[in-house]
Symmetry: C2
């Protein structure tokens, strides 16, 4: 029996879109329950058709804004995001999901749930679609941090490996550092230092550096990077994906003949769409904190939010947080 | 009358591909001459059909490898790249073009030609295709540096502006800092610092930060970034573009009907291909050094190398280097 805390406020499409995804999830997983944090008057009608035992509405009166400083977050105690995260801290929920502010989420989850002992910095970790259908690449950190040390990047690699094994059931996923060249010694100080640590500690699956241009070809399971470069990588990839999709649509709308072409070709493009579907991977987990906290895309539609819930579900089931704790506990024992 | 020095060695496709592009350029521009640096025996037959007065072959006996340290470059005096850059330094050529090692090019051009007075670090600057046909975004630095200070990033912005005005004939191009958020204060220290400098100095066209996901939508003329993040941006964009192109090809090959679809739709996709055509923009200039030095893509085909030559030609004609010198000379006068 799982309970998932959900921040219903602060997403681009409003609570109704999230509610639709939640209801689909609840139907499929009869043994789960959700705690819904947000405006009670707005939420109640959205769940009128759901059995009372499956959900609780926890009324909150504010929403965390897009940008928030740590002190401001601490003062926003009555916000939906604060309360949703708190539910995990207090053991009322097994995990928390939000489609609200990423900055607020990282700040809040870090403050309230705190880092696992031995973890220096938490990392936002998300699977990316690659050009191979159903073969994602797990990338971390995609933006929880602006600066990272070599040791922190090294820890990201260890956490990414645990995540990939737990969520995708892999035995020995391949592990790469994202850098500006493939040779050892390429990249910033922290990337070069992380390379050294990964090599010295013989981390299984570590294969060296990969350049951003080859990273998503479907042959790289885990991509590790300091947060700032990871964020640029994430958004450059998203942006180019969107631009190309727009251009494909334009190409088919070009004239009468291209429109007919679409009628013939659309099945091939449906497969492409499936391959590039970000929504199936559902969200970014903040890895390295004492609790399961997942961020869904701000503009999640019902399907995307449903997928995000499935990801939370899977991570609860696979005990990702516990596995990270164990790994870092044994690592610090080895240090003693 | 222009003279362009060309490093004929070290590209992925060999001198023959470059020669084809060069010959097309020479035909179109009767008032130009090229100095070709490389293996004489290999080059001679490639230019047998070109009038003697249009080219000179300068025999060299080594090739700069992909990775090279500054001291090693200085020792590689007899290499094609060293000699081609030296021709600019010695006034024998108005600019130099290479499709060889990027690392060697940045190192060599910086060592031999040196920074313009007042320029702290040179930047690799290249136009990117955006989703609007014939509306490029100029991005710098895309990888000459691993670390940059706020002042350096600020200088990149000034140089990018001069470049955009000279090469694209713009009056007041819009100027953005690439960052992980649009608000002032987002990004690493050097990005935040550069924002402050751009604002304080009221640099025309400066509009604030842009996130990587919106950067190439065709409404951002100049994108300024520290070199490491710029390199990740460049390669992530290239990589996603390549993946999507591969998937489009697969989509049309999916089955008999999608193949017919291609027959109808190909005109629309031809326009898309033109929009996304990297080759038309031809190369990356190392901005901020005493001389015109351009790097073409390592896997340049004849068309790409021809375009790169046109870019060199245009930058010579528009006196980009002289304009940067003048701007930084008057800036340092203002400082006195």
């Amino acid at each position: 029996m799982f309970t998932i805390a959900i921040d219903m406020m602060g997403s681009d499409n409003g609570p109704a879109a999230l509610a639709e995804g939640i209801k689909r999830y609840l139907k499929e997983k009869p043994d789960t329950k959700v705690l819904l944090f947000g405006d009670k008057a707005e939420l109640k009608p959205l769940f009128a058709d759901v059995e009372k035992s499956r959900y609780e509405i926890e009324p909150t009166d504010t929403v965390i804004p897009m940008e928030i400083k740590p002190l401001e977050f601490l003062r926003a105690r009555t916000s939906s995001m604060y309360q949703a995260i708190l539910a995990v801290k207090e053991g009322k929920a097994d995990g928390v999901l939000t489609a609200g502010s990423t900055g607020g989420f990282v700040t809040g989850a870090t403050i309230l749930l705190r880092n696992i002992e031995g973890v220096d910095r938490a990392a936002l970790c998300t699977p990316f679609p690659t050009k191979k259908l159903n073969v994602p690449a797990v990338v971390l950190d995609v933006g929880a941090n602006n600066y990272n040390t070599a040791e922190e990047v090294y820890q990201f690699a260890l956490m990414g490996r645990i995540y990939h094994q737990a969520v995708f059931g892999s035995e020995n996923p391949s592990l790469y550092l994202l850098s500006n060249g493939t040779e050892e010694g390429k990249g910033t100080e922290e990337v070069v230092g992380a390379y050294k640590l990964l090599k010295e500690n013989k981390v299984p699956g570590f294969k060296g550096n990969v350049e951003a241009r080859d990273a998503l070809d479907g042959t790289h399971d885990i991509l590790v990077t300091p947060g700032y470069a990871g964020n640029i990588f994430l958004k450059a990839t998203e942006g180019m994906g969107k631009n190309m999709n727009d251009l494909i649509k334009e190409a088919f709308k070009h004239n009468f003949f291209t429109k007919i072409g679409y009628l013939f070709a659309h099945k091939g493009f449906a497969k492409m769409k499936e391959t590039m579907n970000y929504r199936q991977y559902g969200g970014a987990i903040l890895l390295g904190i004492n609790g399961l906290a997942v961020k869904a895309h701000g503009n999640s539609d019902p399907l995307a939010f449903y997928c995000a819930l499935k990801v939370v579900d899977r991570m609860i089931e696979k005990q990702v947080v516990k596995k990270v704790k164990e790994a870092f506990a044994s690592a610090s024992e080895n240090h003693d």
